[in-house]
């Protein structure tokens, strides 16, 4: 489904990602963890096309996409959310989804938009101005809804669970499982909470200072001394 080969990203003198390699199969839910500043968002930016890697390959369904434009990758079936929600300004919630569907999925299907609005619990906000009339958690759900409207096969979720108290979080985890099933998704999720990763993901990849320091079953990964060390005191930062 997705394969990264020695992906390196630099911002001036800063090496944000260094020789990052991992592969994942269709249908997997992979947890991407690591302290703040480790390069998780940068990795998403690189896969989705906002950031160009200095070197390395990015393969999506066996196809090299490293040189492709942002919009072209979305059309291939690569959806993502932004850690800091980025609604399309001057558009209602429904218009946000419609633009995502028409241009990302290449079709217009209002019934499916209604379904996504329902699933993401945004139906009552459909006609609101997305940028000015939504609360933060609604904006985060809109991030996912927009990505879903493009009909993705791979979904990159950047800290969509942050800020939820435990009961809401459990409900949201169930929601993500439902999406995973219903839409046949492959998911990479950035999340700090170890328990969440352990319940939701079959696998975890740990980044630290731009490098992969562990990759495997969540329970094994979180017992790895290097991971524990990188995490101590920073997990909630």
């Amino acid at each position: 489904m997705l394969r990264l080969e020695d992906v390196t990203v630099r911002f001036g003198g800063l090496v944000a990602l260094k020789d990052v390699s991992f592969a994942m199969g269709a249908g997997e839910i992979l947890g991407l963890v690591g302290p703040n500043g480790a390069g998780k968002t940068t990795l998403f930016n690189t896969i989705s096309g906002l950031v160009r890697p200095r070197s390395g390959n990015i393969l999506f369904e066996e196809r090299e996409i490293g040189g492709m434009a942002l919009h072209a990758r979305a059309r291939l079936g690569l959806g993502r959310t932004f850690q800091i929600p980025q609604p399309m300004h001057h558009l209602t919630v429904r218009e946000n989804l419609t633009v995502a569907q028409v241009f990302g999925a290449g079709k217009s299907d209002p019934a499916r938009i209604d379904e996504i609005l329902q699933v993401m619990e945004l139906a009552e906000h459909a006609e609101r101005d997305a940028a000015t009339e939504l609360a933060l958690q609604e904006l985060k759900r809109l991030e996912i809804a927009k990505a879903l409207a493009t009909n993705p096969r791979l979904l990159l979720l950047d800290e969509v669970l942050a800020g939820l108290e435990s009961q809401a979080k459990r409900r949201f985890i169930a929601k993500l499982r439902e999406l995973h099933q219903r839409y046949g998704l492959t998911i990479v999720i950035v999340e700090h909470d170890i328990e969440t990763i352990s319940t939701l993901c079959s696998r975890a990849v740990v980044l630290n200072f731009g490098q992969v320091i562990a990759d495997g079953a969540p329970d094994d990964v979180f017992r790895n001394p290097a991971v524990v060390e990188s995490y101590t005191g920073t997990a909630d930062a």
Binding site: L70, H90, F103
Partner: protein
């Protein structure tokens, strides 16, 4: 429905009444014809600014290219004038392709690039004198034809042609704005990454808007050429064709669809009838003062006053 379309209905009514009242007055009808030419360019300029997010100081280029293309194609290739007018628009659109690399430039740099670009065409029209007659001008090309008994080369005939063409362009503009493309372009103005990341090819959509805007401008340049029936580079590529539409669009409200059109006719008539009487030389300075006052008093333009304020959005509906 009627209330929402009221400004449009009133404008259409005014357009029909004017020839009834002033039909016999060649001077006024001539001014109306020129005002409508400016209106077409102002509409095209506002379309590019409003939908494409690009401020152009170079629409004179498209205007002049459309004018010369239609004049040359009708005179030298024998193309019937109705077709040569469309060809004028098409060649202007084609010439805008050379601007595509500039689409990646941000605001002020795009404005400067298109300004330079306009100048290049003026130089070309002057230097290619074997084709265009150079700075001596070009006059031997057909006037607007008579079709179905309507003599479009008469003042009244030209007037109706322009009213219909402005009307068609208004409808086209409205259709694009209301389409999914229009919605995506609206989003792009302030959230380019968020819009591209869901699959919108921002550069392509902007390019379409540039093409459409150039086509409309070239079409009006072509119609103007056949109405005036004389072309010289200094006239066809005059900076006036860049500046007057901007003043008109801002005056009428460039965020609205009707504003630039109403603004153009109002500004042109004001300039010719009032400003010229007060200051025969340098009367454009009065336009500048008027524009400055307008921006201070009603920054959304005359027609912006009709638009209901949407929360957070500066996009007034019209």
């Amino acid at each position: 429905m009627v209330v929402k379309n009221l400004p449009g209905i009133l404008l259409a009514l005014a357009a029909c009444l004017i020839p009834l009242v002033y039909g016999g007055n060649g001077y006024i009808m001539g001014l109306m014809v020129s005002g409508l030419i400016v209106a077409g360019v102002a509409l095209a300029w506002a379309l590019l600014g409003n939908l494409g997010g690009m401020v152009s100081f170079g629409h004179a280029a498209f205007f002049g290219v459309g004018a010369y293309a239609s004049a040359l194609l009708s005179a030298k290739a024998g193309l019937p004038v109705p077709l040569s007018l469309l060809a004028g628009g098409a060649v202007a659109a084609l010439s805008s392709l050379a601007m595509l690399p500039a689409l990646r430039l941000s605001g002020p740099y795009f404005a400067l690039a298109i300004l330079a670009y306009a100048h290049i065409f003026k130089i070309l029209a002057t230097e290619l004198s074997w084709l265009t007659g150079g700075s001596a001008g070009f006059a031997r090309f057909p006037v607007l034809p008579t079709i179905a008994g309507i003599d479009f080369s008469s003042r009244i005939g030209s007037y109706w042609l322009l009213v219909v063409m402005v009307g068609l362009c208004l409808l086209a503009y409205r259709a694009v704005k209301a389409s999914h493309v229009g919605t995506a372009l609206r989003a792009m103005a302030e959230s380019e990454d968020a819009t591209r990341v869901v699959g919108v090819n921002a550069t392509l959509l902007k390019a379409w808007m540039l093409l459409l805007s150039a086509f409309i401008t070239g079409l009006f340049g072509a119609m103007n050429a056949h109405i005036i029936n004389f072309l010289e580079p200094d006239y066809a590529f005059s900076g006036t064709w860049s500046v007057l539409p901007i003043i008109a669009a801002i005056f009428g409200g460039y965020r609205t669809i009707l504003g630039p059109v109403a603004g153009a006719v109002a500004i042109y008539l004001f300039d010719q009838l009032v400003a010229k009487a007060i200051l025969p030389v340098g009367h454009q300075i009065i336009l500048g003062v008027l524009l400055a006052g307008m921006i201070l008093i009603a920054p959304n333009g005359l027609f912006g006053l009709f638009g209901k304020k949407k929360t957070g959005a500066a996009h007034a509906a019209a």
